[in-house]
Symmetry: C2
Subunit: 355 residues, 2 copies
DNA sequence: TTAATGAGCACCGCTCCGCCC
DNA sequence: TGGGCGGAGCGGTGCTCATTA
């Protein structure tokens, strides 16, 4: 598409891309000044700056990333370490991050994790480090990932998305515990004695926080806290958990850790002859696009993933630019989830309260 | 993590990464020879080559990608243009491609499409071109993407995934028409008079091929071909189409363009008082992990996405290496889908045939 | 005197060229 | 023919030193 290196022939795709020298000539300045403008160095008069910027625009000049990376030993790219992208949450966040970064004219390098062991996470970081990315967004809210992050040498800016317990890094997150509390309160408000929970994988921090939020809400209301069941994100995991819960006639309300598990729970209950929501209410988390069309339409917690991604990128680039960014979780970087109430939740079969 | 640029101090993260000269010295050859070995140039004796390789291994030397990109004006990266990654298919393919590329030690640059118009697709290509990627995998099987690809200047190798009509590029694909035929035949075999189709978005080539496969199968069996309904990939689209189909009492079998639409169809039918599969059979496409847990468990077509991604990457790298790769669709690059029969499909209410 | 800019150059790590043994 | 040697870029960054208003 461009000139073959060195060869005078092969100018197939049009003329050579402009380089810094071309900009300097057009603006009537030295390449030095162009560089100063590009890097926002002080000591450039406003008028000069504007002339250079006009020349850049006219030539449609883009700095050569490879040349800059070569000399600075850092690229402007943003690396993303991401767990299983077939899951709705990580996939949505990755998409949001990718688009945010590209909108800012930077490059994204993705390292997805084939497994969730420490080696896999460490590999991903090593890969991105080898690419000399300028910063990393981590969308891998597992304990193993957290462990690796804590052991990371200083140097490359890192922002964690939803990595609730890694207090030493800037964190951008959805208030998972609040989401869990919203669902649990909703179910209690409907008149249920207590709420059972089908938990996500124990290694996932999000799963843990949802458990915590659910547990705290029950305790605060003076309700019994049943033992959580489950241990995965898939519909199959939910199905297995649902079969267990179906055996207990006291179960009238179930909060599942995400929507696929909720689907599995519903299916298992229905197969066991329990109606949803007439006999048992079920709610999920994530609010996947299909949730309104499950049978019955699923009550779920919605997270604003695009906002989360944008926030993560903005924070990371602040960090890259050398700004002081508070570590850990802070309210400005915590996204509030909301509850979408649909028809999978209803009052319990016999509302003893109001008798 | 590494030495601060230029500064003699700040050697924080350990010693400097080895460069080609270090390898040359250790192997007792010149940097020239190391370069020859690295690039597989001829004219290096076997013994010398082995010595160099040993030195590379001992020092754990990795060529500096930025330096190489600077001089060759091409990076070793693979670009991926991908449509809506919240859809199961594209997300799965992207994941497969990313892992395949990384396994080969190369870098991936993703450009996802915020919209499906020509400008958006052209932007994505321009972005990747600016990054000087060595090749591009396109996972955007829309007509608009195909149009842009056809207008692409020669130069950068491109492989299309599932872009059925772009005959001038190497294509890696799932035999969509065969998948559609499998479902349609399955439904006819069950005794249905004909099969209705809820189509995907008209701009998507995959959707079109599924229509074609369905239509051909019906014609070949001498059945009437009803007008397809629908026009989207979402459960909401399927729901709308299902409401339409529910009004026609002759409808006993529906093939939906993907699983979410199938879910929507099922829901609309059920709300209209039609039982699935007793009154109407419904089948989907994609076989999402949740499909077995829909109510009823959904009959669907499974595509081997990991294989597709691996094939796409292998083909692209052959192309990058200068190999002659046949254009268009060829059997070696066509992945065969399979049918997963579950409980959403059954014989029609009254099997008139066998009376 | 100072702030803004220019001129020139070394350097990042690699590829490729010419020339030599 | 296999290989060494030296050197010129690639397009930036950032340094020193001189020059100008």
């Amino acid at each position: 598409m461009t000139t073959a290196p060195g060869a005078p022939a092969g100018r197939r795709g049009g003329r050579r891309a402009p380089v810094m020298h071309d900009v300097a000539r057009l603006a009537g300045v030295s390449h030095q000044t162009v560089s100063r403008v590009l890097n926002g160095s002080p000591g450039v008069r406003q008028a000069t700056r504007e002339r250079v910027e006009a020349a850049i625009a006219e030539l449609d000049y883009r700095p050569n990333a490879a040349a800059r990376a070569l000399v600075t030993d850092r690229s402007a790219a943003v690396g993303v370490v991401v767990a299983d992208t077939t899951l709705f949450g990580p996939a949505s966040i990755l998409l949001a991050v990718e688009q945010s970064v590209r909108r800012r004219g930077r490059e994204v390098n993705v390292a997805s994790l084939p497994d969730l062991d420490v080696a896999s996470v460490a590999d991903a970081f090593a890969y991105l480090e080898e690419l000399r990315v300028g910063g990393v967004v981590v969308v891998a809210p597992q304990r193993t990932a957290a462990d690796v992050m804590l052991a990371l040498p200083e140097g490359t800016p890192v922002v964690a998305v939803d990595g609730g317990l890694v207090a030493d890094l800037p964190i951008v997150c959805v208030d998972q515990a609040l989401g869990a509390a919203l669902v649990t309160e909703h179910l209690l408000d409907l008149g249920h004695e207590t709420v059972h929970h089908v938990a996500g994988p124990p290694d996932w921090l999000e799963a843990e926080e949802r458990v915590a939020g659910w547990r705290a809400t029950l305790s605060d209301s003076g309700r019994g806290v049943p033992e959580p069941v489950g241990g995965g994100w898939t519909a199959a995991d939910g199905y297995a958990a649902g079969q267990l819960l179906a055996r207990d006639p006291d179960v009238t309300a179930v909060f599942a850790a995400n929507d696929p598990t909720a689907l599995g729970v519903v299916r298992a209950l229905q197969e066991a002859g329990r109606r949803v929501p007439d006999d048992v209410s079920v709610a999920g988390f994530d609010d996947v696009p299909e949730a309104p069309f499950y049978g019955p339409a699923l009550t779920s917690v919605r997270q604003n993933f695009p906002e989360l991604g944008e926030l993560a990128v903005a924070t990371l680039l602040d960090l890259v630019a050398g700004a002081e960014v508070p570590r850990g979780r802070v309210p400005e970087r915590t996204v509030t989830p909301s509850l979408a109430v649909r028809s999978s939740t209803a009052p319990p079969p016999t509302t003893r309260r109001t008798s």
